[in-house]
Symmetry: C2
C-alpha cells in the first residue's frame, strides 16, 4: 500500500463542519505572511481545542511535521481539496428578497470558490433587474437556467410557502445540494442533501440562555 495515502474514506461529519473554520483561520494567517503554524496556535485562531484540531486534521492525512507544525500554504491546499473548493461551483439563488439580495452580494461565497451564476424570482417587479452584476430571471425559466449555467447547488431564499415547490422542481432537474433559508422542512429523496439555516433559531437559543442567566439560581417561575 502506498505510504502517503492514509486519507480515509469517511471523514466524521463533525470534522467536516469544522474544516471551513480552519480554512478561514489559515487564510488569515497566509495573508499575514505566516508560513508555519502549530496545532496550538491554529486551534486558538479557530476557537477550538488543540487535540480536536489534530484529530480532525489526522483524518485527512499526516500533513504536519512533528516538532514544527503545519505548513500554512500546504494545509490550505489540502483542506480546500478535501472540501471540494478547488473546483468551481455554480450556485443559483432563488428568491431575491432582502435575504436573497444580501446573499447575492455576500463576499464570503466568491472567495471560497462559489460563483453565483443565476438569480431567479417570481415577482415581475424584480425580474429583469440587475443585482450584484446579474440579471434576475423569471421563475418559469428555473429549469432552463439551471441546466444552461451548470448549476449544482441551489440556495432557497423564497417565502416559506414557495420553498417546497421550487425544491421539487430543482430536484427534478438533477440538483442534489440545497441550502434552505425558508423556515420549512423540505421533503426530498434521500439522495439529496439539504442544509438549512434559520436565522431566528439562533436567536431563540440565545434567548434561552439569556433567560437562565437573568433568572439566576432563583428562577422563581411559579407556573402562571
Amino acid at each position: 500500500m502506498s505510504p502517503s495515502q492514509p486519507r480515509d474514506r469517511g471523514i466524521p461529519e463533525a470534522t467536516v463542519a469544522r474544516l471551513p473554520l480552519y480554512l478561514r483561520a489559515l487564510h488569515g494567517m497566509a495573508e499575514r505572511g505566516i508560513a508555519t503554524v502549530s496545532s496550538e496556535d491554529l486551534a486558538a485562531a479557530a476557537g477550538v481545542n488543540s487535540a480536536k484540531l489534530r484529530k480532525d486534521l489526522s483524518h485527512l492525512g499526516s500533513y504536519g511535521t512533528r516538532g514544527v507544525g503545519y505548513d500554512v500554504e500546504y494545509l490550505v491546499y489540502q483542506i480546500s481539496r478535501e472540501l471540494g473548493l478547488t473546483q468551481d461551483w455554480a450556485v443559483a439563488i432563488v428568491g431575491v428578497g432582502n435575504l436573497g439580495r444580501a446573499l447575492a452580494n455576500y463576499g464570503g461565497f466568491v472567495s471560497r470558490g462559489f460563483r453565483v451564476a443565476a438569480l431567479v424570482d417570481a415577482d415581475p417587479e424584480v425580474v429583469g433587474d440587475t443585482i450584484a452584476g446579474l440579471n434576475v430571471e423569471h421563475i418559469d425559466e428555473l429549469e432552463a437556467v439551471i441546466k444552461r449555467r451548470g448549476v449544482s447547488i441551489v440556495v432557497l431564499a423564497t417565502p416559506a410557502a414557495a420553498a417546497q415547490e421550487v425544491c421539487d422542481r430543482v430536484v427534478a432537474v438533477g440538483v442534489t445540494s440545497i441550502l434552505n433559508f425558508a423556515p420549512v422542512v423540505l421533503s426530498v429523496p434521500d439522495t439529496v442533501d439539504v442544509r438549512k439555516v434559520d436565522l431566528s433559531i439562533e436567536l431563540q437559543i440565545l434567548a434561552f440562555h439569556e433567560q437562565r442567566k437573568a433568572g439566576g439560581p432563583l428562577m422563581a417561575v411559579d407556573s402562571q
Copy 2:
C-alpha cells in the same frame, strides 16, 4: 414537592437547539386549526424521529396525554416559556449593510418575541436613514443606545475587521448574548454567549458532500 414540576434544570443543549423547530411546526398546526397532535405527526412535521421528539419534550415536563397526544396550544405555550419567548427581547443590529438590512426586515424575528430596537452603523452615508421603520444611529452612540433601549441581545453584521471592537464595547456595557455574522472568532469573557452563523460554511459542507457524490464509488483521486 409540587407534583407537576418534573421540569428539570439542565436541558441538553441538543434539545434546546431543536425546540425552536418544534415550535415552528406547532405554530403551523395551530394556524391550520389542529388542536391535538401525536409525537409521530409532530416529529414528521419537524423533520426528526419521534422517539427523539418525545425524549426532548420529556425534559420540559409531562405535557402529553397517553393515547391522545399533545395539546398544540398548550405545548406552544410551554416551549415558548422554556425558551424565554414569552418575554420581549430588545435586539440591536450593528452593521447595516446588505445583511444587516435583510435581518432588520426579516419577519422571523418579530414573530418570535424579538423586537429590533436599534440599528447602528459607522458609515455616515447610512446613518440617519430609515430602515424597516427604524432610524439608523451612529456607532458613537452604541453604548447610549443599548442602555436607553434596554437591548439585551446584539446582532453583529459588521465587516470582519470591525467585529471584535464592537463586541468588546457591547460586552463592556453588559450585553451577554451576541449573534455573530462576521467571519471571525470573537474572544469574550465566558460569561458571554456567542453564537455564530457563517453563511459560507454551510455551502462548503454541501460542496464536500456534492464532491463525494460526483466522484461516486470510484473517486480516483491520485494526489495531484
